[in-house]
């Protein structure tokens, strides 16, 4: 049997960063194929290349043996590759039938003058929907249907043309179980008709419920392709994560000690604020993660606020690149290349009703000032870049940020500051209140940033996290610094430093 669709050696670069590297994919007629991978593994990029939204930098694409190169989704659709996206791209204020045919009302005889033959439209729509086992009133507004029906209508719309390949990008994420079963029944029926279906999901049980084969991507690279029956869930997770599953819990990667001779990027000498923080000496070098450990109330947040100009110190000096500076407000700090992701995300971080785009652009725009306005398009480009690179899960960048989950809000906050291209990023409890998986991703991102030469000041009450990511750990207690530990120190060592009364001046 020959594959109907075959991709090989696909590369895709965004601004010099490899999003896909040498990726391959085979789809056979009459199969359901699951494409798996973590966020940011490159699944969406691959789909976009496949459907002509993006153009691959290199590689070969063959449909039924012939080389193709779709230039747009419409192009791909004409070739027989139909796609149903995660967010339903339909108009809730139009009827079901209109949605099925929007933009391509039946031309043969249905058009008399400028009048659309609605009876014909409705009849054809009913037919198409019946093909996927959906029997509903096609004249009702789509918006009044459940999400599942909308999803099926989207599929019907995709099937309106003679399609050979159907791509479903996370179709089940907003469906409940019964609805998922309903969808699967449709997929199986289409499979029976010989269609090749590429199916992207996060839910392992769904993969095993419906798919025949699995392709796994990781970090933009092809990991492998297996028949679903031969790849157990454990093995699948390992393939996706690239390590043994049990190891995800912690496993400190011992950090290479940062070069002690690098001059300090930021240095404080006796910096303090009466009643909040005793004078403190601290330095952070480019390319290192300095962890700040201590119990709540030890003065970590106070230090971060002092460094960022949110509070005014009344003793000591703060120097950046060896030059003494005085930061009167956060705007000054930003000017010097500092960035702070505050601890209280809801009150000090997100601007809830503004969109993800505006939230991400806010700090950069503030830095540029009122007059150097970033156009809507520039903001969108910026936001989308980070949504992609940090794997922020949102339907689109115009969505109000308040609707995102905590972890994604946190990532958007990090994105806001990365957009200003800071030299020192201060993260105050970036992992609080977010789930395990997102924690992991954020810590990975921190390590990556430091490797790229950014200085990071990492504050967390979770000692295990501090120990894991830091090159050096400064320990605070009772609003003063009580010592410094090298990277890779044990949690117990940190706790002992906190508990004991050693006075490291």
């Amino acid at each position: 049997m020959t594959p109907i669709l075959e991709l090989s050696g696909i590369d895709k670069q965004f601004a010099g960063v490899n999003a896909l590297r040498d990726v391959q994919l085979r789809l056979f007629p009459g199969e359901i194929h699951a494409l798996m991978g973590q966020n940011g593994a490159g699944k969406s990029t691959l789909i976009k290349v496949l459907t002509g939204v993006l153009e691959s930098s290199r590689g070969d694409m063959r449909l039924a043996g012939e080389a193709i190169r779709p230039r747009s989704p419409l192009d791909a659709q004409k070739l027989g590759i139909s796609t149903v996206y995660q967010e339903v791209n339909l108009c809730p204020n139009l009827s079901v039938a209109e949605n099925v045919f929007a933009g391509r009302y039946p031309r043969c005889g249905a058009l008399q003058g400028f009048r659309i033959d609605w009876a014909e439209v409705h009849r054809r729509a009913r037919e198409l929907l019946a093909r996927i086992g959906l029997e509903i009133d096609v004249t009702q507004l789509l918006g009044s249907c459940s999400v599942a029906v909308q999803q099926l209508v989207a599929i019907a719309r995709a099937l309106g043309v003679e399609s050979k390949v159907l791509i479903l990008d996370e179709p089940t994420s907003s469906l409940d179980d019964d609805e998922v079963q309903k969808l699967f029944a449709v997929l199986r029926r289409l499979r029976g008709e010989g269609m090749a279906i590429l199916f992207i999901t996060h839910f392992l049980n769904q993969v095993y419920a419906v798919s025949d084969r699995i392709t796994v991507l990781r970090n933009g690279q092809w990991v492998g392709e297996w028949p679903a029956a031969e790849l157990g869930p454990q093995a699948l997770i390992s393939a996706m994560l690239g390590r043994e599953f049990a190891a995800t819990a912690g496993a400190a990667a011992p950090m290479a000690a940062a070069d002690a001779h690098t001059p300090a990027l930021l240095q404080t000498t006796g910096l303090g604020q009466t009643g909040h923080l005793h004078p403190i000496d601290l330095n952070v070098r480019a390319g290192e993660v300095l962890g700040l450990a201590g119990l709540l109330g030890a003065g970590r947040t106070e230090l971060a606020r002092l460094l960022f100009g949110l509070e005014a110190p009344d003793s000591g000096t703060l120097s950046i690149d060896g030059k003494n500076v005085r930061l009167a407000n956060p705007a000054d700090a930003v000017e010097h290349g500092l960035a702070l992701c505050p601890e209280e995300r809801k009150t000090d971080g997100i601007v809830g009703e503004l969109s993800v785009r505006e939230n991400i652009a806010l700090a950069l725009q503030a830095r540029q000032g009122v007059r150097r306005f970033m156009s809507h398009a520039e903001q969108t480009a910026l936001a989308e870049k980070f949504v992609k690179s940090l794997g922020i899960k949102c339907t689109n960048v115009e969505m109000p940020i308040g609707l995102l989950s905590g972890g994604n809000q946190q990532k958007a906050m990090i994105a806001r500051w990365l957009a200003t291209d800071p030299r020192l990023l201060i993260l105050d409890e970036p992992t609080r209140g977010i789930d395990v998986a997102a924690k992991q991703e954020i810590m990975d991102e921190i390590l990556r940033l430091a490797q790229a030469g950014m200085a990071v000041l990492f504050i967390s009450s979770e000692m295990s996290e501090v120990v894991r990511v830091s090159n050096r750990i400064a320990v605070l207690r009772d609003r003063r610094k009580v010592g410094e530990l090298p990277g890779g120190s044990s949690e117990a060592a940190v706790y002992e430093l906190i508990a004991a009364e050693h006075e490291h001046a």
Binding site: T347, V351, A366, F373
Partner: protein
């Protein structure tokens, strides 16, 4: 096309526009020639023009108020500021018709441009004062501006010495009742302020900053936005708008009354802003909406007078209309009505 209509209805300016159109229709139905505009005496003449001209001060104040409300604030001192600006301008101009060498000449106490600048500057200063109280001292906006609301009338009356100052200076009248290119001059002022503001909002980051400060001031500050400066700025702008409105009003009535000029304009302006779809809780705002809101209020007033509604209950009618629009805009209210009327959502497909 019912469907396109329903989409239109979801636009947030839909209700204000409909209200305005309805009011115009009511006026037109009961007043012959309401929509009639003719060229008379070198300029356009008609009810619509009249409404526009009379709405000008309110539109100006509403513009300023929109920004203040967008930053989660409120400014109830604009009426007093209108009075101050009017009083100052009137006092500085004063004016008298003097016959010099057989020619009747207007004489002012100070040059008119100086008077105009001074009046607007003082009004902006009043706004600045409000802004400082809110942003620097940390008072709640309603209290901070209540202070000037109470004291401002006194200040205005101090300027006018407790009298109503009548202005005798022809050129000044041009502001409020003159015509340019056939249209009331006041409209040009409103248009100029609106366009300048609109450009500033859409072509610079000002709009983004104002919204973000309104939604979450602390987060904006942490993001490096100079939140305090923005707040002080919008209050100052609001004050300046009120000042210009004061000039228009005093020029139109050719006098300044420290006690009554701009009476209740703060309430009309707040209503105009809320009618225009800007929430009192700050954040997203609509300048166009506020302009429409101001026009609704003025059209409504016109309708009430022209329909011969007894003056005793015109306030009632005004309140009822305004309130009805507010109700329709309230999502909670619509939901609760819908819950009463409709059955649960349909379209459930259970296989």
């Amino acid at each position: 096309m019912l469907k396109h209509f329903s989409m239109l209805m979801k636009h947030r300016l839909a209700w204000p526009v409909i209200t305005l159109l309805l009011l115009l229709a009511v006026n037109a139905a009961f007043n012959d020639g309401f929509l009639h505009i003719e060229w008379r005496g070198g300029h356009l003449y008609g009810s619509l023009i009249d409404i526009l001209n009379r709405a000008a001060p309110l539109m100006l104040v509403s513009l300023g108020m929109t920004l203040v409300i967008a930053t989660r604030g409120i400014d109830i001192s604009v009426g007093a500021v209108v009075a101050i600006a009017a009083a100052l301008a009137a006092w500085m101009i004063g004016g008298a018709l003097v016959v010099v060498d057989g020619v009747a000449t207007h004489v002012t106490r100070f040059p008119m441009p100086l008077a105009l600048i001074a009046a607007v500057a003082v009004a902006a200063l009043c706004g600045l004062w409000n802004g400082m109280l809110v942003a620097r001292v940390g008072m709640q906006p309603i209290i901070a501006t209540l202070i000037l609301m109470v004291a401002g009338r006194g200040i205005a009356q101090l300027i006018t010495n407790g009298q109503i100052i009548t202005i005798y200076y022809g050129p000044y009248f041009f502001l409020g009742s003159g015509y340019l290119l056939g249209l009331p001059f006041s409209l040009f002022i409103v248009a100029a302020v609106f366009v300048a503001l609109y450009l500033a909002i859409t072509r610079s980051a000002l709009g983004l900053f104002i919204q973000s400060v309104g939604i979450n001031p602390e987060a904006s500050r942490v993001a490096g936005v100079k939140a305090r400066a923005i707040i002080v700025g919008v209050y100052a702008f609001c004050g300046a708008c009120a000042g210009v409105a004061g000039l228009l009003i005093s020029s139109n009535v050719k006098s300044a009354d420290g006690n009554n000029a701009g009476q209740l304009i703060e309430l009309d302006a707040i209503l105009a802003v809320t009618l225009g779809g800007t929430l009192l809780t700050g954040g997203k705002f609509s300048l166009v909406g506020s302009m429409i809101g101001a026009l609704i209020i003025q059209t409504l007033t016109y309708a009430i007078y022209s329909l011969g509604v007894p003056p005793e209950i015109n306030l009632v009618v005004k309140a009822v209309v305004v309130f009805a629009v507010m109700l329709m805009q309230s999502a909670e209210f619509r939901d609760s009505i819908r819950a009463l009327v409709q059955k649960p959502a349909r379209g459930e497909v259970r296989a």
